[in-house]
């Protein structure tokens, strides 16, 4: 990794300059007022909590990090229906960091079952062939290995999308969402942390794109960042579990080159999706505000992106 550090810094610095230029352009447009409102709303709440830690035993890592947040019981009530959304978007093996590590997903699902969930659905709407993605990412075999009839790995059924109007959406006013995600009593978003060409980083809020219908390619056209923030007005994760056991630092989001993967064995979780993403961005040496959709979500009042105002608990 160190060998490539210089190249990355150079690109980072370059992109920062670009973003500064873009921010200046936006600033001229007079967004000053908008950004004040959510900050006031946030100030009234307790400072959000991000729990994180490292361990080579991913099962134990998940257990420890989630207990530091108050245990899965805080998010999953007995008899409730849970949707766990890992990233299984790519036909890649787990070691490439393009998909959520199967052992992380497995333990998250087990914790939900132990908390008394009636049913835990694991699903994604992949970019590659869904069967290959589910198998090759290792997630489907891992969840099936739990051997519980309450844990289900499902494919998207296109009939089960529901069109929702988005009154709080800035760029999007309506879009199709998966019914089961809308109805889930606990929505757990469990993305890997990775570089992404157009979103810069693909994290928790970006991962919500795997639960929406329609031609998602269209969401990339124009302001992807605002579109991601808008989708999160409808589907807000109750729990975000960032799988940073590996960071995919380049060639994302699909990856495919082990040289681009940095093994951290780290996990971070939060009930605040903005704080979780912002913390994950810091692992890449970036700030939450460097990522357009984190910035937008913060401004729209979804959560805290300023890590100085976030309580980060290392387990």
């Amino acid at each position: 990794m160190d060998m490539h550090g210089g190249r990355h810094m150079e690109r980072r610095a370059f992109l920062k300059r670009l973003l500064a230029a873009a921010a200046l352009a936006l600033g001229l447009d007079g967004l000053g007022l908008q950004s004040l409102l959510p900050r006031m709303a946030c100030a009234a709440k307790d400072s959000p909590l991000v729990a994180t830690g490292t361990n080579q035993d991913y099962g134990r890592l998940v257990t420890e990090v989630i207990s530091a947040l108050g245990g899965m019981e805080r998010f999953v009530k007995p008899g409730s229906r849970v949707l766990v959304k890992p990233n299984m978007s790519w036909d890649r093996r787990p070691e490439f960091g393009a998909t959520t590590h199967p052992l992380v997903v497995k333990r998250v699902v087990e914790l939900c079952l132990e908390a008394g969930a009636r049913e835990v659905t694991v699903m994604d709407r992949p970019c590659n062939d869904e069967r290959r993605c589910y198998q090759e990412s290792g997630v489907q075999p891992a969840v099936e290995a739990i051997g519980s009839s309450r844990a289900k790995v499902k494919h998207v059924n296109s009939r089960l999308f529901v069109e929702k109007t988005m009154p709080r959406g800035v760029a999007l006013k309506r879009w199709d969402f998966y019914r089961e995600a809308l109805e889930a009593e606990a929505l757990i978003i469990a993305p890997p942390a990775k570089q992404h060409g157009s979103a810069r980083l693909s994290l928790g809020m970006k991962n919500v794109m795997g639960l929406v219908g329609g031609r998602r390619e269209r969401l990339h056209v124009g302001d992807l960042h605002q579109h991601i923030a808008d989708l999160n007005t409808v589907l807000r994760a109750h729990l975000t579990v960032i799988d940073a056991t590996r960071l995919l630092t380049a060639n994302g989001p699909s990856g495919g080159n082990l040289q681009d993967v940095r093994v951290l064995n780290r996990l971070a979780a939060s009930a605040d999706p903005v704080a979780a993403d912002s913390y994950a961005a810091s692992l890449f040496g970036l700030k939450g505000g460097d990522i357009g959709y984190i910035q937008h979500a913060y401004q729209m009042g979804f959560g805290e992106m300023d890590l100085t105002k976030v309580k980060v608990v290392e387990v």
């Binding site: 069967r131 060409g197 990339h220 302001d223 699909s254």
Partner: protein, 525 residues
């Protein structure tokens, strides 16, 4: 002869009749079962004796030998069929051929309640199959390989793939549309479980659509409907495999007794679906007998027997007419070069599957069975019509707007029964260049509209990516200066999988990035 033992013997002949029907049903079901197994089986490799039927087919064996001039152990079961045919005659057609079984089933349905008409052996129509066989073999020598187009197993597999299965799956999907629309909320989850289970087995993963669906389907249903006109019309008159097996059957060791129609009865003429008895005295042509045992089981006089002996049955000389044969051969020899010299069609962008042999060899080897198109996980492999001239009819090509080539999938090479698409190991497959992506700045969103997009870059599977981004300051339609990331193709990294073209959000059938045919001499990047 005393009545009681005669009845007992009749029972035995009926067992042969039912045994034959059972065998037909079993082989047809096996064919359909294996057909359904040509799909992603939750693992990298295809499991099971998928190629069984293709391996049993002497005509495909012959086609393969003519196109490659090499012996392959793959086809040893076909040799077994050849030997058994020399011994038994056309048992393959009567007992084993899934298309024959289907035709018998359809024929029984279409003709139920109708009185069977006595059939005559007249050489007229049934000569076609021999001449067709000759024409196909001569054409194959000139590297115009259409054998697979007429081979019954290829034809059946292709028709199932391109027409029957997608149509059946469509009906299934529409049924579930109704069920999901009508189901009360509490049932939807259970219904979704049933639907999911069906999608893993009988139904395809996605709604399939194929080019040439109507064309292929019309021909196939045409062949089925001919049963209403004449039983086993295809097998009698058209099937080149039937012709080949018939020629081999000339030496069969099974003798029918009596060898001709009995003067006092003549029921055999009506019973024989193949119409294998000649006019006049009614000698049977053993090339036409498919050993269905109807004449034996249903003989009211209990006279008919089939005996396996050492001496060959006395086959009559097959007179196709020397002039006709010569005309067929010369006609094909003259017309094939005319069909093949159209240079324009070689220029047309055709993206062959990964592992495909060089074009001429590929077309010679490909038997148009459609197995690669059946197994393709994205439905991107589609049959050509005349894009490559008549020689390319029904051969597979990737239509990227329909489906891309999945980077880590190697199924089409595994599904190909003839090696026209070579099976590739995963690491080879990931490097196999099937095309090259070309940007069209007049359509590509960042170039043409000055706003961000980059869907192609996101999906590009090579590592490092063949599509990279280049930030540019652009003046948007609103006059504002904005930094837009433009995609750039690094051609030497591109393998032509077409996922960029497939996922490109540009509206309409023409994407902002397209895959063209690779050439032997690429320009420098």
């Amino acid at each position: 002869m005393n009545a009681a033992p005669a009845r007992a013997e009749r029972w035995r002949w009926h067992l042969w009749l039912w045994g034959r029907r059972l065998s037909q049903a079993a082989f047809l079901l096996l064919f359909l079962f294996l057909f359904l197994r040509y799909r992603y089986q939750d693992q990298a490799s295809l499991e099971g004796p998928l190629h069984l039927f293709f391996r049993l087919d002497p005509l495909l064996f012959l086609a393969h030998t003519l196109s490659s001039w090499e012996w392959t152990a793959f086809f040893w079961p076909a040799l077994l069929i050849v030997l058994l045919t020399l011994l038994l005659g056309r048992f393959f057609c009567g007992w084993l051929c899934p298309l024959g079984a289907l035709l018998d089933g359809v024929g029984a349905g279409l003709n139920s309640g109708r009185k069977a008409q006595p059939g005559h052996l007249t050489l007229g129509w049934r000569r076609i199959k021999y001449l067709l066989l000759v024409a196909l073999l001569v054409a194959a020598l000139f590297r115009f390989d259409w054998i697979g187009i007429f081979d019954p197993l290829s034809l059946l597999f292709r028709s199932l793939t391109l027409a029957v299965y997608p149509a059946a799956a469509y009906s299934g999907e529409r049924l579930f549309d109704l069920l999901f629309a009508g189901a009360p909320g509490a049932l939807v989850d259970h219904l979704d479980d049933v639907y999911g289970a069906l999608k893993r087995t009988l139904l395809p993963q996605r709604v399939l659509s194929y080019e040439l669906l109507v064309f292929t389907g019309t021909i196939f249903f045409g062949i089925l409907i001919l049963e209403a006109f004449e039983r086993r019309f295809w097998c009698k008159n058209l099937c080149p495999l039937g012709a080949l097996l018939g020629l081999l059957a000339s030496w069969r060791r099974i003798k029918r007794l009596p060898a001709k129609i009995c003067t006092d009865c003549g029921d055999c003429r009506t019973l024989c679906k193949m119409g294998s008895f000649g006019a006049g005295e009614g000698w049977q042509d053993v090339r036409e007998c498919i050993l269905c045992f109807r004449c034996q089981a249903l003989c009211v006089e209990n006279r008919v027997r089939h005996r396996l002996g050492l001496s060959s049955a006395s086959a009559h000389r097959l007179d196709l007419g020397r002039r006709r044969l010569i005309l067929t051969g010369v006609g094909v020899a003259v017309s094939v070069p005319l069909l093949k010299v159209d240079g324009r069609v070689l220029e047309a962008d055709v993206i062959r599957p990964p592992g495909a042999l060089p074009e001429a060899e590929f077309l010679a080897r490909c038997v148009r069975c459609g197995a690669c198109m059946k197994v393709c996980v994205t439905n991107g492999l589609q049959p050509l019509f005349l894009e490559r001239g008549l020689a390319g009819l029904w051969s597979p090509a990737l239509l990227c707007r329909q489906g891309y080539c999945e980077f880590r999938c190697t199924l089409c090479g595994q599904a190909c029964p003839t090696g026209a698409i070579q099976p590739l190991a995963l690491e080879e497959k990931k490097k196999a260049v099937i095309g090259k992506a070309v940007l069209d700045p007049s359509r590509c969103v960042p170039y043409a509209r000055g706003i961000n997009c980059l869907v192609c870059e996101e999906h590009c599977p090579t590592a490092p990516k063949a599509i990279v981004l280049r930030p540019r300051e652009k003046v948007g339609a609103d006059g504002r200066v904005q930094v837009v990331k433009e995609p750039l193709v690094i051609s030497e990294r591109c393998i032509g999988c077409g996922i960029c073209e497939n996922k490109c959000p540009v509206e309409g059938s023409v994407a902002g990035i397209r895959v063209r045919q690779p050439t032997s001499k690429e320009l420098p990047p």
